[in-house]
Symmetry: C2
DNA sequence: CTACACCCTGACGTTGCGTTAGGGTCAAGA
DNA sequence: TCTTGACCCTAACGCAACGTCAGGGTGTAG
């Protein structure tokens, strides 16, 4: 009727140390101790442990689990709903990462070194500088960006639209700042992270030419209106613009 | 041309403390220090930081990243391939978790308390004890388990088949052990975790009646052959068998 | 000359245990 | 009865990847 740590460990598939830990923090305590001080778990302790493992499996922290189990008035439903959202986010993120890895691997298959392809894949500075010169014609890279963007659904695009608008307004508002202004750096950083998050796990553009960065007019918003359908290409182009201007 | 910690922090979207940390462990070091000891990062440092963030984004640890970046002979392709697999596993796991949460929430919608439904959903002891008595007729629960299992594809089933066979052999081999034998406990634990992993994020059955658990014959394998198509139901039933026998 | 924003180096806190270290306990076998 | 060997205990440091003070210097704009 009473289980030792080893038995519980085998049954539940958790380490003895873990049981010690749960005991120490008061999460799962053995019903009693033997004369020699051995932990003796009863069935209700095992059930509690199982509940703990359930919530842990769902990704809750031990502190939260304690809350959930100790306070019967806790809103479990809301907690689960919140958690579902969190899991969905994680899933989306992982899916993006997988796509990023795939693209990286594809680039390697094509015979280019990781250094040449990974960092610049889809955002190759030289390439986009050319395109900037040509006033963003319907190039291959433009198409590629569109294809990448094509994976998004209606709702995605609405959210992205809102986000980008906010960022662009911010940048436009900084049009008269000096090169290297902290706020400009921060805004460009945000834009870059936005690109990364939405279109690629990572890109190096952010660091290209930013040393001499200046925003001298608000061509961003014009550009934005023109290129709205090809959002990714626009951002890449905008970055190339920055780089080109800073070097000219 | 030289960036202070704040500028880099803004650009890259990482905290200053993080930069300190990367410096301390030698992952990203500033090109130089000012007279006053200020960290001054150059462009190549920023590129390195960006590479670090790329791999970090993919979930690599800082130690691994150091390996990757410092040793040019490192097999990046293999690392990426390995990582792709890891990400896929994570994704699958999260998808299972989401389904588990959904089932839990459904159970709550139906008016049952979390305690009543969550822990026993699909593996209700009382229910399965009944079924065990009826020699596993085509009950609702049986059907429900089949439906759950229906979500698996061909390859899944093959892997599951191999796994279950191994576990069943193990249990069969322990047919003459005494109640509470550690190896029996461990084997039952494995079986339970197998159920959890494949069919539900968690279930409590594992702990039901195990106190007096004994394996007295090898009816598992018979049962196995009979019920192969309804694997989940079989496991649930087998557990109920255990419980029923131990109480009879 | 004084704010005030920015920089530095410790150094402890966090989460969830893993991992020795040093030392009792208990049932079985010689 | 003594000795294995498998278990049990507590204490305490270690790890990842930083967050978060604490205490104190720097640099520049007004």
């Amino acid at each position: 009727m009473a289980y030792t740590v080893k038995a519980v460990s085998d049954l539940a598939g958790v380490s003895i140390r873990t049981l010690h830990h749960y005991d120490a923090i008061g999460l799962v305590r053995p019903r009693e101790r033997s004369e020699a001080g051995y932990r003796l778990y009863g069935r209700s302790d095992l059930e509690r442990l199982q509940q703990v493992l359930f919530f842990k499996e769902l990704g809750f922290g031990l502190g939260e689990i304690k809350e959930i189990l100790d306070r019967p008035d806790f809103d479990r439903r809301q907690a689960l709903l919140d958690h579902r959202e969190l899991l969905t986010h994680r899933k989306d993120r992982i899916e993006r990462l997988i796509r990023a890895v795939d693209r990286t691997l594809e680039g390697m298959e094509e015979g280019n070194s990781v250094e040449e392809r990974v960092w610049f894949d889809g955002f190759d500075a030289a390439q986009y500088e050319e395109e900037a010169r040509q006033r963003w014609g319907h190039t291959a890279a433009y198409k590629e960006s569109r294809e990448r963007a094509a994976g998004y659904g209606q709702a995605d695009w609405e959210a992205i639209g809102a986000e980008q608008t906010a960022i662009l307004r911010e940048i436009a508002a900084l049009a008269d700042r000096k090169p290297g202004d902290p706020e400009v750096l921060a805004a460009v950083g945000r834009m870059h992270r936005f690109i990364n998050e939405r279109f690629y796990a990572c890109s190096l553009e952010m660091f290209r030419g930013l040393g001499d960065l200046a925003v001298s007019d608000s061509r961003f918003t014009e550009t934005y209106e023109k290129l709205r359908p090809g959002l990714a290409a626009f951002y890449a182009t905008a970055v190339a613009e920055y780089c080109g201007r800073s070097r000219a």
